[in-house]
């Protein structure tokens, strides 16, 4: 089941990045592109191990950079750092509450692009930045906040559809046992 979960999350990252590149409706309406990787990373960080967080960060980052003009590998570190921070603090986070999911999504949606842009600037690249970028950051953060509970719901549905069903509680009770055995009767 671990492998199934890993493959599902990695496929979701692959598909999500493609949809992000294919659908330009938010770019037309809001002048900003949504980012699906931070919500996916929040889900992974809260439900899986550090190894899985690393795998999603590497795979998602590579997919994103391959379709973008980003230098290859620049998205890996921001995704991993944010994922690791959430994973480390997951014992303290009430992650089954929708408020916590919204807040984590918003924080990750703002932190990942900020760290990526900082890395780009550190590497001597010249990304397109202006005051309008603040608006884009707000849109990315808000959309990640909305998408995070949706990602949790989606994976819950996937788990329900493919996971083994839990065994039902048995109706056997000791005090209602009918004793027919001869040996037992003799013992009584």
């Amino acid at each position: 089941m671990k492998w199934f979960r890993a493959i599902t999350i990695l496929s979701a990252a692959w598909l999500g990045v493609f949809l992000q590149a294919k659908c330009g409706i938010t770019r037309t309406l809001l002048a900003a592109q949504l980012d699906v990787l931070p919500p996916l990373l929040v889900y992974t960080a809260l439900t899986s191990t550090v190894g899985m967080v690393a795998l999603v960060a590497v795979w998602g980052g590579l997919c994103l950079d391959a379709l973008s003009a980003n230098p290859l590998g620049v998205s890996i570190l921001p995704l991993f750092v944010v994922g690791l921070a959430i994973n480390r603090g997951r014992g303290l986070i009430l992650h089954w509450q929708i408020t916590a999911r919204l807040a984590l999504g918003a924080a990750a949606g703002a932190a990942v692009p900020t760290l990526t842009v900082l890395l780009l600037l550190t590497g001597g690249h010249n990304p397109l930045l202006s005051w309008g970028s603040v608006w884009q950051l707000l849109v990315m953060s808000a959309s990640a906040a909305v998408l995070t509970p949706a990602v949790f719901k989606l994976f819950e549905l996937v788990d329900c559809a493919f996971a083994y069903r839990p065994a039902g509680a048995t109706s056997f009770r000791h005090d209602r046992e009918i004793r027919r055995d001869k040996v037992l009767k003799e013992a009584e």
Partner: protein
Amino acid sequence: MASLTRAQYKIAGLVVVLALVLLSLPSRTADALKSVVASLFLPLIGFASTTDALAANAVDRLMPKRELARQNSLLRRENQQLRALLLQAQEQARENARLRELVGWRAQSAWNLRVARVVARDPANWWRTVHIDLGSKDGLRENAPVLTPDGLVGRVGTVGIATSQVLLLGDPNCRVSAVVENAKRDVGVIGPAGALRSDVVELNYLPLSAEVKPGQLVLTSGLGGVFPKGIPIGRIIDAAPAADEMHLKARVKLSANLSGLEEVLVLMQ
């Protein structure tokens, strides 16, 4: 908060090393690796193309005959107008060739245009690029100009085997030498104008004495050797002195609609 175990430290170290190695790769190797990773999206690109074609087919089937007849009549009329214009253009081309021969100028080479479909857009907000379905197997090379019938779109960046990246006008890595169609033929450089509007770019480094007015046409200047001369870029919106007051800068509304690009023409070399 629990501290990291030894295995977790190893994983974190591995990710950091991998990212640093990828970031420090030579640009040729990084581009090749990028093309390989991008090719993993080819099945999805193919699936999306088929879905688009099926949807378009369904719309065509649903369209009433009256609407089709109206469109047909409009297209026939447009076709006749274009035929007349073609005759005129052919005559002008012959005249141009004769005059060039008389003066001894080198004849201009004819454009070899190929239609390409836009298959993906840049998923990041800080670049303006698209992916097209032409690659090195189609003979595409880096820096080939990309345009639409309305005007210039950009130039080809990284070339993959089946798909390529196009740097659009307004991307920080796509600079174009442009000339304003006025009496002084003022020359400047097209660059990005801001993160929000994809239909506006900035024409920088115009001389302070430039006579730039709203509505004037901006064309490629042919300087720099990447873009041929005379491709329309857009029209001037307004002009103002730059912050250093050493030159003028003007905002230009692009002729081509970059946010709604579906098909583009690539000028093959």
